[in-house]
Point group: C2
Chain length 245, copies 2
């Protein structure tokens, strides 16, 4: 049985223009890996209704779970909720429970929601809210789509709320072995290891550390004993290379 | 006339597993913005031949330029060049000019290429090389696709080599105005500004800075005078809000 899969659709002109460095996909990748859900695609698109609808429909059909990040605030450029409703072919309107959460959060600051802030209580029909401790404005889940904020602290809180509701898989463990030689020096032995251990995946990542040209080899798999075997073989390769120089 | 568009396809299990934080898309975004090419999509996919071929064909049809990042080294998990050849329906083999570059770089370290390292000289038929000062292994351009390394220092050098060969557009300038109030307090005035100045785009980005809940408003457009007008209106809004409190 293979693990559930996931994708994240990041909605944000600010990422594509180079103004902001994306942070949520990286956080999501680590969290999903921990619970055995395979993040299989990251896609960043602009604040454009039709583009969001098309991307969302492509992703939600293909993967077990889809997360979105961004575009659920009160301003004119917050168009994600409407795009999600359109993609799923459902209506959208201000909903009492979402409105109550907003009002409660604003009341704590002595305010009541403006018309624009009320837009954050617009929820597609049939969605459930993603309540979180950081923001009064909730995210929401509908079908296999989880719609979350772009502000990193709120994204993190919303993911904490959503993760326990998902079907976890078998966590993929990883081990790393550092070689102080370039990739070319270990490529053929690594190829042999890959052939010998088809239940594992091996990644080879060159690095430069001052004068040292090195390679980090990452082994990934679900079976700890097998991982340990692979690490032992890599370490023995490293020893034999060291003895040769 | 609208600007050329671009997408980047990042190939890398290490990004999707959360091991590595992606860096090249962010660099590309800033560089393309400077020369008036609109980065319109970022897509990250795993080291999987069929997935790469499919994504590449979708992107190269849709955008003026496509960049790829990652998967062009000497090890078993470097499968990008073959996937690009397959996507474009052309052959691929070790090419003399690429091989000469590799040999020259290795000779400087007193080495000759191994069979695995020679894989880095496999170039799809009809491609032109992306020669760069950092790595002896070249990238390559074929059709509207530019295939570059995942290692950030090499990606940067390859992009420096490729950028002057592209058709530039009209650079999109941006200005930013910082409000020390939440988005909800300026949403309606901002909506009016958006309606009044359709040649510009406005982004609204909430932030928290200690106790301050603020909003950065980013205005983008190609005409400096119009940008200055928008900034003046935003600054006058900020002044009127400050006088009110």
């Amino acid at each position: 049985m293979s693990n559930p899969t996931a994708a994240i659709l990041v909605i944000g002109d600010e990422i594509l223009s180079g103004r902001t460095r994306e942070a949520n996909a990286y956080h999501l990748a680590g969290e999903l890996t921990r619970v055995g859900i395979d993040l299989s695609e990251i896609r960043v698109v602009p604040d454009d209704h039709d583009v969001i609808v098309e991307a969302l429909n492509a992703l939600r059909e293909r993967y077990t779970y889809v997360f979105t990040s961004g575009g659920i605030g009160p301003t004119h450029d917050d168009i994600t909720a409407d795009a999600v409703a359109a993609a799923l072919g459902v209506g959208i309107d201000v909903r009492a429970d979402a409105r109550a959460l907003l009002e409660e959060a604003l009341a704590a600051r002595g305010a009541t929601p403006t018309a624009d802030q009320l837009r954050m209580a617009r929820i597609p029909d049939g969605a459930s809210l993603i309540v979180n401790g950081v923001s009064g404005a909730p995210g929401f889940s509908i079908g296999n789509v989880h719609v979350m904020a772009g502000v990193p602290s709120i994204f993190v809180a919303m993911l904490d709320a959503v993760l326990p509701t998902l079907t976890a898989g078998v966590p993929v463990l990883s081990r790393e072995v550092r070689f102080e030689v370039g990739e070319g020096r270990i490529a053929s032995q690594l190829r042999q290891l890959v052939a010998d251990m088809p239940q594992l995946t091996f990644g080879s990542y060159p690095f430069r550390d001052g004068e040292v040209r090195g390679t980090n080899v990452v082994v990934r798999g679900t079976m700890p004993a097998l991982l340990a075997d692979a690490v032992a073989r890599l370490e023995s390769l490293r020893t034999s290379l060291a003895n040769r120089t």
